[in-house]
């Protein structure tokens, strides 16, 4: 593949590669076959690999998840799609009560190597229930891996990693940046590790920690800060369970400042989790309290007001300024002046 591709096309490329490499990979979900998915993530795959491998199902998310558990228990690599994350709830019983625990309950005799993909997040002017970010619900569950890509290359590599993983993986696709940018992605078949952060930009003054569609916002904020002489590190968490704390702790112990950004509500969110660990591990080394920039603790508004809900570059910069300010106060206090 020599053309630059977008995140959505990278998902398609990884799915095609997985279908090609392993006859035991099967895709199923609503409208994914003939129609190629409502976002076209599976475009052309049914035609290329056959309707027995890229399968349109009846409309039932509980069925999709539960059937995937059953297939995966037999070693089939079931890669299923939930059309929007807002419709994942009927699948939760199967994911939480079964997928997450099958190996544990059978003491290793059976496992559940399934992948459940779903587009998530706001910012595309979608109708009610089509814009939520409920990843924290899933990241909370022991046994479920939760992976979120934020670039075409990471979408390709992480999805292959998820499909080859022997655990159930929830693969959440930030649909707002499905087509945001294009890069060259080599169809090498190489997976990326699904338990590592990605340091996208190195910096000494502060760590911007995020994932999904907020990554471009963080990178834009970092550019802006660079103009002011502030050197920020940008880390894509990528895996929400488990979280690669080694990378995060190394970064924040270097910079002494962390701003965590996600579009899901702050309450009970992944940012709270990361913040807690940073505080537990780095107490004494921090130059400012960990700051969070998150979606608000209310229902995702209908699209007219969604820009008032979603964090943007200026919100990130405000939090950075607070972090820098807090550090200054501390220095002032320590030196006894002011």
């Amino acid at each position: 593949m020599n053309e630059p591709i977008c995140l959505l096309e990278a998902v398609n490329l990884a799915l095609a590669r997985a279908l090609d490499d392993d006859p035991e990979v099967i895709l199923f979900g609503e409208d994914i076959g003939h129609n190629g998915g409502v976002f076209r993530a599976t475009d052309g795959l049914a035609k290329r690999f056959g309707a027995h491998r890229v399968v349109d199902t009846p409309l039932a998310e509980n069925m999709i998840a539960g059937t995937a558990v059953g297939m995966a228990s037999q070693g089939i690599r079931a890669v299923v799609e939930i059309q929007f994350m807002g419709f994942i709830f009927p699948a939760l019983e199967q994911l939480i009560a079964h997928a997450a625990r099958l190996r544990h309950r059978t003491r290793g005799r059976l496992s559940c190597p399934m992948v459940l993909r779903a587009p998530y997040g706001g910012g595309i002017h979608a109708p009610e229930h089509h814009s939520e970010s409920t990843e924290a619900l899933l990241a909370h569950i022991p046994g479920l891996r939760v992976v979120i890509p934020s670039s075409p290359a990471r979408a390709y590599g992480l999805l292959l990693g998820a499909i080859r993983c022997d655990d159930p993986v929830i693969f959440l696709e930030p649909k707002r940046i499905y087509r945001a940018s294009r890069t060259l992605v080599e169809d090498s078949g190489a997976a990326l590790p699904i338990d590592r952060c990605f340091t996208l930009r190195e910096g000494a003054d502060l760590s911007l920690i995020s994932y999904g569609a907020m990554i471009p916002e963080c990178l834009a904020a970092a550019d802006n800060l660079a103009e002011r002489g502030i050197d920020s590190e940008v880390i894509d968490v990528a895996s929400l369970n488990p979280i690669d704390y080694d990378t995060l702790l190394a970064s924040v112990s270097k910079t002494g400042r962390a701003v965590i950004v996600h579009e899901a509500p702050g309450k009970g969110g992944v940012g709270a989790d990361i913040s807690a660990v940073l505080n537990e591990q780095l107490w004494g080394q921090m130059r400012a309290p960990v700051m969070r920039v998150t979606g608000l603790d209310t229902v995702m508004p209908y699209y007219r007001n969604e820009q008032h809900y979603l964090p943007g570059v200026s919100d990130i910069l405000d939090a950075v300024d607070k972090s820098l300010e807090a550090g200054r106060n501390e220095i002032l206090q320590a030196t006894g002046s002011g």
């Binding site: 609503e30 190629g36 009846p58 109708p127 007219r304 820009q307 809900y309």
Partner: protein, 359 residues
């Protein structure tokens, strides 16, 4: 010994041929101008509204919109037969039904235009709002019906959903409960043959969707969803039964989705043009118009006048919609709790600042 212990059949009711000619002896009421001319007027309004809504979406003035093209007869007849005290549990395609129940046309536009105020359901009494997560409303309908029964109120609940929705557990669970508890529930499936790109035969292997109710011990039947006379007979009878405490029923209304799934869909990717062309032969408006013309209740000038009136009404609603001042930002926090927790007040200020122009 081996004997049949359960035998049944599913009937299909139809009175008019696609060209508006009677197939059978018609019910007496259908020889009168009313309610059929009213039905027709509302169906025209529904279709004109639909066209306008799609046009608004195409020009960036409305969000994703699910067209009701081909479902006009089901909605209009249901809306007229329901009493004010009956309770509607709709799905996302029932725009005109909600209008008949009292929702201002402007509010329908506001809802699909991404404004919470459009979902307030002004005028809909105890009706439930749109349900976007498929089939979830069927269980609400069972609960609403249970509350009527508990209070000994002699009214009916009407719940609508699509053919795709019948594949979800919710649907089976709702019917099952309605059977066991003998609930005053009329479940209407708008079987428009498609669930986005998935055709009816890939949704369920049974020859009818109606028969799903038989497993719940509920009477069920099919009706031609493009035939207002048949719809009137079947739905009217079901409502009377439910109100009289005679229990639930399932009505599978056979229709065809004459549009894309929504404005975000492109049905030409998965649907043969011939099938769509053929489906237009069964257009519910054409059928009723021809019937009314044959009886002398309708003609060209009435048609033109009816279209003009519909256009005026729609134009007014669109103007009101476009002139509606933007929803205040704080409204995303309003009505979330009976009383907003103090700690959330600071977030209202954050919301106001947010989105105020990026760098």
């Amino acid at each position: 010994m081996r004997e049949a212990v359960f035998k049944t059949e599913i009937s299909l009711t139809r009175y008019l041929r696609a060209d508006g000619k009677p197939l059978d002896e018609l019910p007496g009421w259908s020889h009168e101008p009313e309610p059929l001319t009213s039905y027709y007027r509302w169906m025209v309004l529904a279709r004109q509204f639909d066209q306008k809504a799609v046009a608004l979406q195409r020009t960036g003035q409305l969000g994703t919109y699910p067209s009701s093209l081909g479902a006009e007869a089901i909605d209009v007849v249901t809306g007229h037969l329901m009493s004010h005290e009956d309770i509607l549990v709709p799905y996302y395609r029932d725009h005109v039904l909600q209008m008949i129940r009292g929702t201002p046309m402007r509010d329908v536009l506001l809802y699909w235009g991404g404004d919470e105020r459009g979902n307030a359901g002004v005028g809909m009494a105890r009706d439930l709002p749109n349900a976007v997560p498929i089939a979830t409303q069927t269980l609400h309908a069972a609960g609403v019906a249970a509350s009527l029964k508990y209070r000994h109120q002699p009214h009916a609940v009407v719940c609508l959903c699509g053919d795709g929705a019948t594949s979800k557990g919710d649907f089976a669970e709702a019917l099952n409960l309605a059977g066991v508890w003998h609930l005053p529930l009329v479940m209407i499936v708008n079987n428009n043959q498609w669930a986005i790109s998935v055709p009816r035969h890939m949704q369920c292997a049974a020859p009818t969707l109606a028969q799903k109710a038989l497993a719940a011990g509920i009477p069920a039947e099919q009706v031609d969803g493009n035939d207002p006379i048949a719809l009137h007979e079947v739905i009217g009878h079901a409502l009377q039964r439910a109100r009289a405490g005679k229990g639930p029923c399932l009505i599978e209304a056979l229709s065809y989705r004459l549009s894309d799934h929504t404005t975000a869909d492109d049905a030409s990717r998965y649907r043969a043009p011939d099938q769509l062309k053929e489906a237009w032969q069964n257009d519910p408006l054409r059928r009723l118009r021809q019937y009314l013309v044959d009886l002398g209740y309708w003609d060209e000038s009435r048609e033109r006048q009816c279209l003009d009136e519909a256009q005026q009404q729609i134009q007014q609603a669109v103007e009101d919609y476009l002139a509606t001042p933007p929803e205040p930002v704080e409204s995303m926090f309003e009505y979330l709790y009976a009383e907003l927790p103090e700690q959330l007040r600071t977030q209202i200020e954050m919301a106001r600042v947010r989105g105020g122009g990026d760098l």
